[in-house]
Amino acid sequence: MNHTSTKALNLTLKIWRQAGPDQPGALKSYTLTDISPDMSFLEMLDVLNEQLIAKGEEPVAFDHDCREGICGTCGVMINGQAHGPDSATTTCQLHMRRFSDGDTILIEPWRARAFPIVRDLVVDRSAFDRIIQSGGYVSVNTGGAPDANAIPVPGHAQQDAMAAAACIGCGACVASCKNASAMLFVSAKVTHLADLPQGQAERSKRVLNMVATMDSEKFGNCTNTGECEAACPAGIKLSNIAQMNREYMKAVLFSCE
C-alpha cells in the first residue's frame, strides 16, 4: 500500500522558472505551509500561485485542463519522475497525501529536444501532432461508411486496440526516456490501428511514415529500458513498441509502399 499522510503538510518546493523559450532558466525555492493531504498536486500549485500573486510575484506557468486524468494536458517531472511517484496516474490525479510533512519536492518541465520550453513548466508538444499528421488515421471521408456491424471485430482484437488507443498524448514517455524517444506514443497509435480491420489498407504506409516523422522531429531511439511504460499514466505497454518494430520490419521487407 502506498504511503498516506492524513495531517496538513509543510513543504519546500524547488521549481524550474524560465520566462521564455530563449531565456535562461533556474530552480527557485518556495515554502508552503498547511497543505491539506486531500489536495491534488495541481491544487497545491494553485495555492502557491495565489500566494505569489498576493506578493506581487508572477505565478508559475503550468499546463492543465480537465484535472481528471484524461486530456493529457498536465505533466511535470516530480522528484525526477514523470507525473510523480504513483503508477498509472497523471499529475492532476496525484494527491498530496502521497507526500510527507517536511518534504522537498523538485518540480521540472518535460525535458526533450523535441519539446521546447514555452515558459516555466509548459512545453511545446506539437511534434506529436505532426507525427499523427503523417499517418495516424484511417483515410475515410465522412459519409458512406458501411453499417457499423458489417465487419465483426473479435472481442480480443477490440480490447487490444482499445488498450493502445487509451494513450492520452501527454509526453511522459518522452520525458522519462534518457533518449527522449517517442516510441511508446507512436507505437500506441500504430498498434491501435493495425489491430483493427479498418486500419489494414494503410498498415504499411502508416508505420513507415510515422516512424520517419518521429525521427525527423528529433526524438531519440528506444533504449529498451522501459522507463516509458513505468511512467505512462494510461497503462500503455512496452509490447506496443515490439509490435511497431515488427510492423516496421514487415513494411520495409515486404510492402510495396
Binding site: G20, D38, T89, H95, I132, G143
Partner: protein, 643 residues
C-alpha cells in the same frame, strides 16, 4: 417587466412529414461546386467533437478550413472527458428501439422545450455517426462474436448506448482529431493551436471573421472567411466548481452575443447527479462518475436522520433506496435532473452521508455479489480507480459517495434548423448552441449531438450560405477588423491596468458561490433577484480590484483567466435573469414556486412553451426577449413521469 420583441423568432424548419423533413431541407439547400469550394474559407473555432468533426468534414469537401483551439493541440478539447457513451437508434439489441423512440425520449427528457424538427433529425443521424466512427477505427466495445455492445443510460428503457470502456469521449474525439490531422497533412486545414477567439467581425450584418490572441506570444491576429462556425462548448464554469475542464469558458459565445447573436435559454443548466463530493476549500474542479455506473450501482441513504453508522453497519431494511422508491419504472436510471433533485432533497432533509452530510451512497455490493468483482472491474475499472485516487476509499469494499455537480449547459447561442444564428454566416454547433436538448439533456446524447452537427449537418447547411449570399471578397484590412481588434486589445489592457488586490481566481470563486447558492439546483424569485444584485456588485469590484501580473505580450495564463472571468461576470447576470423570467419549472430549471405535491417540476405550457432568445443591449442593461414558440406535432405536450 421584460421587454419582449414585437415579432416572434422563426426556427425556419421544414414542414410536412417529420420523418422526411431533413431530406426535404437537403433538397432545398443550394450546393457549392468543387472549384468554388476551393475558393471559400471557413473559420471553425473549437476542436471538440463538434468543431473537430466539422473541420475535418468541411476540409474533405474541399473548403479551406482555418481551425482554432485554446488547448495546445486539438486532441485535448473537453469532449475528451465524456465517459459513458453515445446514443444511437441502431436497435442492435432488438429491444424495441427506433429513430422515433430516441426522438421521443429526447423530447420528453428535455421536458418539451426543444425544437421537434431538430431532435428528429438528431435521432435519424445518430445511426450514421456510429458507422462513421467505426470506419475511422474507434474501438467501441464488442461482444465476443465481434458485434457491437450496448448499455443503458438514464431516461431510457432500451439499451442504445455505444461505449469505449469509460473513455468514449476520448475515443470519439481522437477519431475526429485524426480525421482533422489527415486534412492538415493534405493542406486543407490550417491549424491554430493555443489561440483564443476574442471577437467576431461582422460586416454588413454578415459574420466575416474573427479576432484571436496567440496565447504563447500574446499577439492579436485577425482572420477573414466566408463563414464562421463556433464550436466552443458550454458555460458550466460560470459556477466555478463544475465537471468542466478548467479552460472551458463562455468568452467566444458571449463576444458573439455582444455582436448581435441571440443567446437562448441560458437558465437551462444540467446538474449531474453522480459526482465526487467537494472535499475542502481548495477544491478546483469536480469529477464526474459516469452515469453508466447507475446500470449496476444502487443509490441510497439511511432511513434515519443523521445516521452516523458506517454503511456496512446499516442493515438492508434500514436503507432508503430513494430512487427505486420514488421512480419504480426507471429506478436508479431516472434522468439526471430528477436524480439530482432527489439527492438534494434527501441531504436537505438531513439524511445525507459522509462527514459533510452532503452526499449519498452509490453502492455496487449487490452487483459485485451477482456478477463478481471481475465483471464489475471490466466494466468500470478505470472509474473505480479514479474514485480511489481522489478519495482514498476503495469502492469495491465501501459504497461510493456522490453528490450532484454542474456538468452541462443546454442553453447556448440561438440557431435555426440550419444551425445558423440570427447573424448570417455565423453557425453554432455542439454544446455552444441551444438546439436539441430542451430543458434537460439525457445521458450519452451530448456526443451524439456534437458529432451529428459536425459530420452531418454543417457540411450541407454552410454551403447554402456561401452559394446564396454571393459574398463579396473580404480581407482583414477592412475597417471592421481593425475596430474589433482594438476593442479586444483595450479590454485586456484595461484588465492589466486595474492593478488591484485580488486574483482572477478569487473573483471566479466568489461568482461560483453566488451561482451555486442562488441559481443552482433549486431557484426562487427572491434568490434570483439577490443573485443579480450580487453579480453586479462583484463585477464592479472586479473592475476596481482585480490583480493580474505580467504583460499582455507573453504567455500569461492569469491574464487569459481574468479575461474569461470578466465575461462570466457579464454572462451570469443574463443566466440569472433568464431563470427569473422563466416563471415555471422544467428540466434543469427548477423554480421552487412551481412544483407538484411530490416535489416534481410543474411546467406552465400556456405561458412558457417557447425558447427564450435574448438580444444584447449593453452590460447591466436588460436584454430584449425574442420568443420562438415551440409546437409539438409528433410528441404532444405531456407530463414527464418516470414513476
Amino acid at each position: 417587466m421584460v421587454t419582449v420583441a414585437d415579432t416572434t423568432l422563426d426556427g425556419r424548419c421544414p414542414t410536412g412529414n417529420m420523418a422526411s423533413r431533413w431530406e426535404q431541407r437537403q433538397r432545398d439547400l443550394k450546393l457549392v461546386a468543387p472549384h468554388n469550394k476551393r475558393k471559400s474559407t471557413i473559420i471553425v473555432v473549437g476542436t471538440g467533437l463538434a468543431g473537430g468533426s466539422a473541420a475535418a468534414s468541411l476540409a474533405e469537401l474541399g473548403y479551406n478550413v482555418l481551425s482554432f483551439c485554446i488547448q495546445d493541440t486539438p486532441r485535448r478539447a473537453h469532449s475528451i472527458a465524456a465517459q459513458g457513451g453515445i446514443n444511437a437508434a441502431k436497435n442492435y439489441t432488438n429491444d424495441g428501439d427506433s429513430v422515433w423512440r430516441l426522438f421521443y425520449d429526447t423530447v420528453k427528457g428535455g421536458e418539451w422545450r426543444a425544437r421537434e424538427s431538430n431532435v428528429y433529425r438528431l435521432a435519424q443521424l445518430s445511426t450514421s455517426i456510429i458507422d462513421q466512427c467505426v470506419a475511422q477505427g474507434v474501438p467501441f466495445a464488442r461482444e465476443y462474436g465481434g458485434s457491437l455492445a450496448n448499455r443503458s443510460f438514464g431516461g431510457a428503457q432500451v439499451s442504445r448506448t455505444f461505449y469505449c470502456a469509460g473513455q468514449t469521449g476520448q475515443q470519439l474525439l481522437l477519431g475526429a482529431y485524426q480525421a482533422m490531422m489527415r486534412q492538415v497533412n493534405a493542406g486543407r486545414i490550417k491549424l491554430f493551436a493555443r489561440r483564443e477567439m476574442l471577437d467576431i467581425v461582422v460586416i454588413d450584418g454578415v459574420a466575416r471573421g474573427i479576432v484571436t490572441r496567440d496565447l504563447v506570444t500574446g499577439k492579436f491576429e485577425t482572420f477573414a472567411g466566408d463563414a464562421v462556425v463556433l464550436c466552443t462548448g458550454g458555460y458550466g464554469n460560470a459556477y466555478y466548481l463544475s465537471t468542466n475542464a478548467k479552460t472551458c469558458n463562455v468568452t467566444a459565445a458571449w463576444r458573439a452575443h455582444k455582436r448581435g447573436a441571440y443567446f437562448a435559454n441560458p437558465c437551462y443548466t444540467q446538474i449531474h447527479p453522480t459526482c465526487i463530493p467537494v472535499s475542502g476549500s481548495h477544491q478546483s474542479k469536480l469529477t464526474l462518475m459516469s452515469e453508466s455506473l447507475r446500470n449496476d450501482g444502487r443509490v441510497w441513504v439511511s432511513k434515519s436522520k443523521d445516521d452516523s453508522r458506517s454503511p456496512d453497519q446499516i442493515p438492508e431494511d434500514e436503507r432508503d433506496y430513494y430512487l427505486e422508491r420514488r421512480y419504480p419504472s426507471y429506478g436508479n436510471l431516472a434522468p439526471r435532473d430528477v436524480s439530482s433533485r432527489a439527492a438534494k432533497e434527501r441531504c436537505d432533509e438531513g439524511f445525507g452521508v459522509g462527514q459533510s452530510k452532503m452526499s449519498v451512497y452509490l453502492d455496487f455490493s449487490a452487483a459485485i455479489k451477482r456478477d463478481g468483482e471481475d465483471v464489475i472491474r471490466a466494466k468500470y475499472g478505470n472509474l473505480f480507480h479514479m474514485y480511489e485516487r481522489i478519495t482514498a476509499e476503495n469502492p469495491y469494499k465501501v459504497p461510493m459517495r456522490i453528490y450532484p455537480a454542474v456538468h452541462y449547459t443546454m442553453g447556448g447561442l440561438w440557431v435555426d434548423y440550419n444551425l445558423q444564428s440570427n447573424l448570417p454566416g455565423l453557425y453554432v454547433l455542439g454544446e455552444a448552441n441551444f438546439s436539441d436538448h430542451g430543458a434537460n439533456r439525457l445521458g450519452a446524447s451530448a456526443l451524439m449531438q456534437g458529432l451529428a452537427d459536425g459530420y452531418f449537418v454543417i457540411p450541407y447547411t454552410v454551403g447554402d450560405h456561401i452559394a446564396t449570399r454571393k459574398l463579396s471578397p473580404v480581407s482583414t484590412s477592412a475597417p471592421e477588423f481593425g475596430q474589433a481588434l482594438s476593442a479586444s486589445k483595450s479590454r485586456l489592457e484595461a484588465i492589466l491596468n486595474v492593478n488591484g488586490r485580488h486574483s482572477a481566481e478569487h473573483f471566479h470563486r466568489a461568482l461560483g458561490k453566488i451561482m451555486w447558492d442562488h441559481v443552482g439546483m433549486a431557484r426562487n424569485e427572491k434568490g434570483l433577484l439577490k443573485a443579480i444584485d450580487m453579480i453586479r456588485q462583484l463585477r464592479d469590484e472586479f473592475w476596481k480590484d482585480v490583480k493580474v501580473l505580467g504583460s499582455g505580450e507573453s504567455f500569461n495564463q492569469n491574464l487569459e483567466h481574468a479575461g474569461r472571468v470578466a465575461d462570466f461576470l457579464e454572462f451570469s447576470e443574463l443566466l440569472a435573469y433568464d431563470a427569473l423570467c422563466r416563471d415555471e419549472s422544467c428540466g434543469g430549471h427548477f423554480r421552487e414556486e412551481h412544483q407538484t405535491s411530490e416535489g416534481e417540476c410543474a411546467r406552465n405550457d400556456d405561458q412558457f412553451c417557447y425558447a427564450a432568445a435574448w438580444e444584447y443591449q449593453g452590460v447591466g442593461q436588460e436584454s430584449i426577449l425574442h420568443k420562438e414558440p415551440l409546437t409539438f406535432e409528433e410528441c404532444p405536450l405531456g407530463t414527464r413521469s418516470y414513476k
